[in-house]
Subunit: 148 residues, 2 copies
DNA sequence: TGCCACTGGATTGTGTCAATAGACAAAAGA
DNA sequence: TCTTTTGTCTATTGACACAATCCAGTGGCA
C-alpha cells in the first residue's frame, strides 16, 4: 500500500521526537530536518498537520518548538498517519452504483470495508515506543555489521 | 485505502462474469459495459490487464469474448486486484535512508510490511464466489425493501 | 526592540490517473 | 474471399493530486 511522502515524513519525525521524549525539551523543526535530511520547509507543513491532529504541542518564539502531546507508548501509528495522511480511509468512490447496486454493495462490504478494518487494526497496535525499540535494534545491527 | 478506478472496474467486471460462469459462454466487453454502466473503451484496457494476469481467457473475432480462466471459487480478490491495480504492493520509496537508516528500517519492518501483509491476507481470503453470494444477498434485500 | 520559530496561504512543477480515440489482427459466416 | 464482429495495442488528452518551495504574518522570549 502506498504511503505518501507526508505520511512517511510525519512518521519518521514522530519517531525521532519519541527518541528524545525523556528530555522533556521542545524540539525545533530545523533540528529534526537536519537529523532526518528532510527539507525544513516541507517538514513545517507536516508538523502543522501533526499539531492539528493532536499528536504534538507547540510553543512559538525563541526556545520554542514541538513536543509529543502524550507518552510515545500512548501514540499509535494510526494516530500519526490519520493526522498526516488524509487519504488513508477516504470514502471509496462509487463504481457501478446506478446499474448494479448489489455488486457495489458487495464490493464495499466484503472487500473495501474489510481492507480498511485490517489496516486500521494493524496500525492501532503499533506505538511509537515499539518503533523506537525496533530502530534501536537496527542501529546495533548496523554498527555490528560495520565493524566486522 | 484507495482503490483506483481500474481496480474497482476490474473487480466489478470479474464479479459480473462469475455470475454467468455456469453458462460457459464467452462474454463480450460490450455486454459487461452495458450491464455495469461503464465506458466500453475503458473496460477494454481493464480486460487486457485481466488477461495478462491470467484471470480470464479470450477468443477473438465474431462470437468471441472473455471467460474466467478458473472456477470463481478459485479466484481471489487478491488475484484480480494484483492483475489490475499495479500500485497495490509497490515498493515504498525511501524516506530518510541516508541520514537515519535505522528509522527507515524500523518503519519498513514494523509498519509498511505489516500493512501489506494484513491487506494481502485479507484479500486472498475472499473469492469471487463469496462476492457473488454477497451480491445476491443485497439483491434480495433491495427487492424486499422496494416492495414494502 | 529584535530575533527566533511556529502559522498559514499561495504558488509552481511534476507525475499519475481516468478516459478517449484509432489503427490493427483474428475469427466466423455469407 | 469479403464483411462483420470482437479483441489488441499504443498514443494522446485533460484533470487532478502531490511534492516541494516561498513568503508574509504572528506570538513569545530576552
Amino acid at each position: 500500500m502506498r504511503i505518501s511522502a507526508k505520511g512517511r515524513y510525519g512518521l519518521a519525525a514522530a519517531i525521532s521526537m519519541a527518541e528524545n521524549y525523556n528530555s522533556g525539551e521542545y524540539i525545533t523543526v530545523i533540528s529534526i530536518s537536519e537529523r532526518l535530511g528532510i527539507s525544513k520547509i516541507y517538514l513545517e507543513q507536516v508538523f502543522s498537520l501533526l499539531k492539528r491532529g493532536g499528536i504534538v504541542t507547540s510553543i512559538k518564539g525563541a526556545q520554542g518548538g514541538y513536543q509529543l502531546a502524550r507518552h510515545p507508548r500512548q501514540i499509535t501509528v494510526l494516530d500519526v498517519l490519520s493526522a498526516v495522511e488524509l487519504s488513508l480511509f477516504e470514502q471509496a468512490e462509487e463504481t457501478v452504483k446506478s446499474k448494479a447496486p448489489e455488486i457495489e454493495s458487495a464490493m464495499r462490504v466484503s472487500v473495501f470495508d474489510e481492507i480498511d478494518g485490517a489496516v486500521k487494526s494493524t496500525l492501532e497496535n503499533i506505538t511509537l515506543s515499539d518503533l523506537v525499540n525496533e530502530a534501536e535494534k537496527h542501529k546495533t545491527n548496523q554498527s555490528f555489521m560495520f565493524f566486522i
